[in-house]
Amino acid sequence: GSGGGSGSADKGSGHKLVVGFSQVGAESGWRTANTKSIQESAKKAGVELKFSDAQQKQENQIKAIRSFIQQKVDVIAFSPVVESGWDTVLKEAKDAHIPVILTDRAVDSKDESLYVSFLGSDFVEEGKKAGDWLVKEYAATSGDVNIVQLEGTTGSAPANDRKSGFADAVKGEPKFKVVASQTGDFTRAKGKEVMQAFLKSQPKIDVLYAHNDDMALGAIQAIEEAGKKPGTDIKIVSVDGVKDAFTAMSQGKINYDVECNPLLGDQLMELVKKVKAGESVPRRIKTEEGTFTPEQAAAALPNRQY
């Protein structure tokens, strides 16, 4: 790969650290918070950040990474749009001796040496947490528990993983029945629209599991307009933990929220420095993420940034 040549070799260590970061896009508030956190921490850490937005297109992300290689950055970090299909470009980076860090989503590449570390949350885990809570919550009841699910954008990694994680958690007990499951594209409007249809077509709904808070918030409105009480008539489990959701929780409208922390800027910068300094870093770093009950949420609400 003459593209990068002996890329980072010729940069003195006194030289300001240059990181190329390729973001998926700006499809949600969560994503924006994630971007912001990274940009700010970079400023704080005195790292020069080359940021590029792929607008949900893997090919754009690949182009971006290529151009990082061209520009001979010191470290490349990116949150993959999707797990697969990165080997080629990552090889180019490797040939150019530029270490790569993954954030927020892993890649399924066989060749371990292509990236040094993966920093981020585990969507399957999140789904499981949501499911586990449900199992505990309904440990007492014996009757059927009718669940409706608002899925994320069809085919997107978080949607797939949160679905499967949740399914694993509840499959142990046959009383949990997912009676309806539709995509709400991670948006409030869709969430509301779909929930409204569910409320009409489903005679009995006990639980709503939403793949993200925006859809949950949309659904809450639908439930209220149908004259039911969200959180009591229909229990609501959701993922993300954005501020608006916490507000809703503090009003008891959401029963359980699994955090998916976008604020991994500082951790990333730490990692970058370590990697650059040649220290060994763990291959997998989980972002510290909690789960929230209404009480905890109410407590955490005041100092919630996003």
Partner: protein, 323 residues
């Protein structure tokens, strides 16, 4: 042939020249703006990164020239990547069997859409939109996950680099250029090509002049289907994965490339080389964006729009003045 004829011929080419000039000036601006921009490799990367778009746009050019439109291309690309990955990875079919199969599938799909459009006189927009839904839908019915490809032949195609001096291109880029060359010959030196233009000029007249309207139409959509499938194959090489969400909105990029290249959406007039330029313009804009590494997500979009705006307006003004 006389001077006047030469002049008219030249006048026909002016939009093309203007576009080319604008493209070059855009590149030079980028070169002075960003370090490392002015390198042969950047130019070659334009081809490498946009090979599949180029192929798709070529197919789209045929359709648009007849006054039609094909919205299914993006989805067909995705479907091709999906089917390839699925067959190769999960059924262990040999690539040399899978690739022709995928191409055949795309062609057949296109042909079918063309047939429906012509025989039932339904507007291309809807038929191909339905095609788009169907193709994407089929992707998900195969799998909602993305399937990554580890097959050695594919990885080879993905990672071979054909060196040009100190630079390199990918096989895909060469394939794309080949497609352009072939398409050029077809459009300008075969009866099919001329019929395409005639159809775009006036379908009624084409019919009354005894041209094979139905055959031409179906063929054109078949070509577009083929190109989409081939684009899908190239994308598979590029991404080494099949995924239902690949190439979302690609149809718009393709149409944009075609139209920027000076082809009229109403059909009948346009240039294949224009499409090549159009693709390069879009690619160059992307490159500028990625070199300009400080743009926030939304400024990225705004700047893309702005660049497009400047380009289009200049293109219009200059060509308009020349007329």
């Amino acid at each position: 042939m006389n001077a006047h004829a030469l002049l008219t011929r030249l006048r026909g080419q002016i939009p093309l020249l203007v576009t080319a000039v604008l493209l070059v000036s855009m590149f030079s601006v980028g070169s002075v703006q960003y370090e490392g921009f002015f390198s042969g490799q950047v130019v070659l990367n334009l081809l490498i990164d946009n090979a599949f778009l180029l192929v798709v746009a070529v197919g789209m050019t045929f359709v648009v020239l007849t006054g039609g439109i094909d919205l299914s291309v993006g989805a067909v690309v995705a479907l091709s990547t999906m089917v390839s990955a699925w067959l190769v990875e999960q059924h262990g079919w040999p690539p040399l069997l899978v690739i022709p199969l995928v191409l055949l599938m795309g062609t057949a799909g296109g042909w079918l859409m063309g047939w429906i459009i012509h025989v039932f006189e339904i507007q291309p927009f809807i038929v191909t939109l339905a095609g788009m839904f169907l193709a994407r839908g089929l992707c998900y019915t195969i799998s909602v996950e993305s399937i990554s490809i580890t097959d050695p032949q594919y990885t080879a195609m993905a990672q071979t680099r054909i060196p040009l001096g100190s630079l390199f291109v990918s096989p895909s880029a060469l394939i794309a250029l080949l497609v352009v060359a072939v398409a050029f010959v077809v459009l300008h030196y075969t009866r099919l090509g001329r019929n395409v233009y005639a159809l775009g000029g006036s379908e009624q007249s084409a019919l009354l002049m005894g041209l094979p309207v139905q055959r031409t139409k179906t063929t054109v959509y078949a070509i577009s289907g083929f190109c989409s499938a081939l684009g899908g194959v190239l994308l598979t090489f590029y991404m080494l994965s099949g995924y239902g969400l690949h190439a979302v909105g690609l149809e718009l990029d393709a149409i944009a490339a075609v139209v920027i290249g000076g082809t009229l959406l109403t059909g009948g007039s346009g240039y294949l080389l224009g499409t090549l330029l159009g693709v390069l313009v879009l690619g160059l804009i992307q490159t500028v964006i990625s070199f300009q590494g400080t743009l926030s997500s939304w400024w990225t979009r705004i700047v893309i729009g702005a660049l497009l705006f400047v380009f289009i307006v200049l293109q219009r003004l200059i060509t308009a003045r020349r007329r």
